[in-house]
């Protein structure tokens, strides 16, 4: 092999750097984020486990059904009908975006662009303050 | 083979650094645009495409123009083009790369660009444009690289490239035809709504592409030992001259149809581009492109005249000058007037003029520099291989 002297140390440095995050956090206790659940509502439109794992898929399905297929019929949860809508459906119960959506999203380092357009409850006020 | 691009004299490295500097400026400008939105450009509700899309349109032509260098050699076994076919293919690679960058720069949501593939829409001309452009890039990379690499190894290129070379010839026509179809299939944009748009695009492409190549070849003749040869040069003059004449013939046809029929919609944009368009409500005259368009006509005709004179006089300086004249003339015609003019007046017959912003010009310069960077590296490799082979032969 040519340049053995530089390639092997280089490779080692690269691997160490790449694994740094694992070494650094190994053994530390990291607490799962606590989301604030809506008060006064017992049931969601889907089981909790499904919502935890796949709410984004459901939102995408709703989006296409409502906009593209015109299927705007409401969905039922615990005997109550809700709109198939993020800001008029989900946020009807989950009124606090910061303590419900953001807590988890920030923890998982995902930044969905929903809120670039959709308006969270009270967010119009928050926006006003920010300006 | 790539290592050839890492060996060069001071001039080569100075040029590369210069290009990288401009690319850097382009990147900074793009970050500004990305953070602010396309409002950082001079485009508006009425003129929705600006200098990006017009550069894209022109550069598709430059890419298609490579055909004029490939076709005689591979289809007619015109041996004197043996040294320039590879240059034609590499120029096409750079031009298509620039086209794609200009499209990306023009998107309001560049992160969603792949939606064109995720949601394929065969009724949209942009869908086909994506296919033909990426196909053309692929064909030229494969053909150019394989042929040159075989030459580098001192063997004849493998047989399997032949079909790709033959496909690339009609493919070159398709890229500019589809690009013309982007415009000429839109109802209500009278200036673009003309069946002659694709032929006009091709004529200007077959002149502008070889013009650029000729200028680069003449520069290389001075700075390196690489000479494409007098015979190839003279043949190129014929190709450029006739293609450029055809372009003006087509333009003349457009002008006749508009001004003989005197249909207002057909005259409006031509008025705006060549004479100035008056807004009847306010009496104001809009003519910000008139000096450019008139210069385009003058430079185009001067270039055509001079290019034949240069051949008679065997003058490389005059040849370079006439090629630059024709190239700039067609750049104005297609890279400014065609796209910008189509938006004046708008669908409600209101007039809005467009002026690019500095950010926009910075990005445009950056993309052009990227193209020249690609050309520089590829040509450096190509001529190194060619010169080395000739030394050993």
């Amino acid at each position: 092999m040519y340049n053995k002297g530089t390639i092997i140390p280089g490779l080692i440095i690269f691997v160490v750097l790449m694994l740094f995050a694992i070494f650094n956090n190994a053994g530390k206790k990291i607490e799962a984020p606590k989301v604030e659940k809506p008060v006064g509502y017992k049931e969601c439109v889907k089981p909790v486990q499904y919502m935890k794992e796949s709410h984004m898929e459901l939102l995408n399905v709703w989006r296409d059904e409502v906009i593209r297929e015109g299927k705007r019929e409401q969905v039922e949860a615990g005997g109550v009908l809700y709109e198939k809508s993020l800001q008029n459906g989900c946020m009807h119960c989950h009124t606090n975006k910061t303590k419900f959506c953001d807590v988890c999203h920030t923890f998982a380092s995902v930044y969905p662009y929903c809120w670039d357009c959709h308006v969270a409850p009270q967010e119009d006020l928050a926006l006003k303050e920010a300006r | 083979m790539l290592e050839k691009s890492l060996k060069g004299n001071l001039g080569y490295w100075a040029w590369v650094l210069f290009l990288l500097g401009i690319i850097g400026v382009g990147v900074i400008c793009y970050i500004v645009q990305y953070n602010y939105g396309l409002g950082a450009t001079g485009m508006s509700r009425d003129v929705t495409w600006g200098i990006y899309i017009s550069q894209f349109t022109f550069l598709v032509g430059v890419a298609a123009g490579g055909l004029m260098l490939v076709l005689p050699y591979y289809l007619h076994h015109y041996k004197d083009f043996g040294r320039i076919t590879i240059l034609g293919e590499f120029m096409a690679i750079a031009a298509v790369a620039m086209c794609m960058l200009f499209i990306m720069a023009d998107l309001g949501q560049p992160m969603r660009a792949l939606n064109v593939i995720f949601h394929p829409t065969p009724n949209s001309m942009l869908f086909y444009d994506m296919i033909v452009l990426s196909g053309y890039l692929f064909l030229n990379v494969v053909c150019g690289w394989v042929v040159l690499h075989s030459e580098y190894q001192g063997i004849k290129y493998p047989k399997w490239v032949k079909p790709f070379i033959y496909i690339s010839i009609p493919w070159a026509v398709s890229i500019h035809t589809v690009t013309a179809f982007l415009y000429c299939g839109l109802p209500g944009r009278h200036f673009w709504l003309t069946a002659i748009l694709a032929p006009r695009f091709l004529a200007s492409a077959f002149a502008a592409g070889p013009c650029l190549l000729m200028v680069i070849a003449l520069i290389m003749k001075r700075t390196t030992k690489f000479d494409i040869g007098r015979v190839a040069q003279d043949k190129l003059v014929t190709i450029i001259g006739y293609a450029a004449l055809l372009n003006f013939f087509f333009l003349g046809c457009e002008i006749f149809v508009a001004y003989y029929s005197t249909i207002p919609g057909h005259m409006h944009t031509l008025d705006y581009l060549y004479f100035g368009l008056t807004d009847h409500a306010t009496g104001q005259v809009y003519n910000n492109l008139v000096p450019f368009m008139l210069a385009s006509v003058v430079m185009g005709f001067a270039g055509i005249g001079l290019i034949f004179v240069s051949r008679a006089l065997k003058s490389d300086q005059l040849l370079a000058l006439s090629c630059i004249l024709i190239f700039v003339s067609f750049w104005i015609d297609k890279g400014l007037g065609l796209v910008l003019g189509g938006f004046v007046p708008n669908g409600l017959e209101q007039i809005t003029e467009y002026y690019p912003t500095f950010v926009e010009l910075g990005i445009t310069a950056g993309i052009w520099a990227t193209g020249f960077f690609i050309i520089t590296v590829l040509y450096k490799i190509a001529i190194s291989v060619k010169l080395e082979n000739e030394k050993t032969a």
């Binding site: 800001q87 308006v119 | 939105g37 508006s44 998107l107 969603r112 949209s124 109802p187």
Partner: protein, 283 residues
Amino acid sequence: MDSSRRKFLKIAGISAVAGIGAPSALNMLMKKEVQASSDGGGHGAQPDAHGAPAGHGAAPTGKRYGMVIDAVKFHDNPGLAEKCIEACHTYFNVPDFGNKKDEIKWLWQVPFTNAFPTDESHYKKDDRTHGMQFLVTCNHCDNPPCVRACPTKATFKNADGIIMMDFHRCIGCRFCMAACPYGSRSFNWRDPRGSKDGVPFIKKINPEFPTRMRGVVEKCSFCDLRVKKGLQPLCVEATGDTKAMVFGDLNDPNSEISQVLKARFTIQRKPSLGTMPSVFYII
């Protein structure tokens, strides 16, 4: 195996593949064709079809929403058009940037010359028509050039003939804006949620409807979300009892709009382009 047999097998194989594939491909094409013609005739239909009682094209199926704008009534009711625009723009969070370059509008007013540029006669310049303003918006064409141009189906025609925008999918190429002959589309050149000198571009955000983000195209949606619930579009609602705007199903011969179109002479914007607009004007 000798070469002629090999050749035969090759050809047989290819034709078998083609034989299996071709009918389904043909089928797909035919289906599309059928759909296109029931959509209102596609390219083949005559643009003058609006005179027919059914509204548009041949063999209409399903709903086809349209609108009649009575420019005379708007002329006689000063301030009414502004009320319609206000109703639309406030509900849909349409920003006001205060300059022409960034402008976004779904519904606005222009003089006759601009609304109907090809219909202008050199000598017939009666004061009334030329003093009037005309509300213009998306025409929700039966044969929409914008839908044809869009490379991602971000703009599309829904089952009710409404031309929709899917803001989630739009890549901001603005091909639709070049394709629209009516200048009905606007682009978010910058963030509509921003502000200038402390004044927000959207004065009061309506929490019922999303805003847009920069880099997408937007336009009038015929209030599809309201229409689906059996309500009238906001602009029509804003005209109250004046009947300055009539909205309804063009395919239903008994609908109010069909009755109006039967009884009154109406014009469309640029009918010669074959786009078959669904917005009609009484002048």
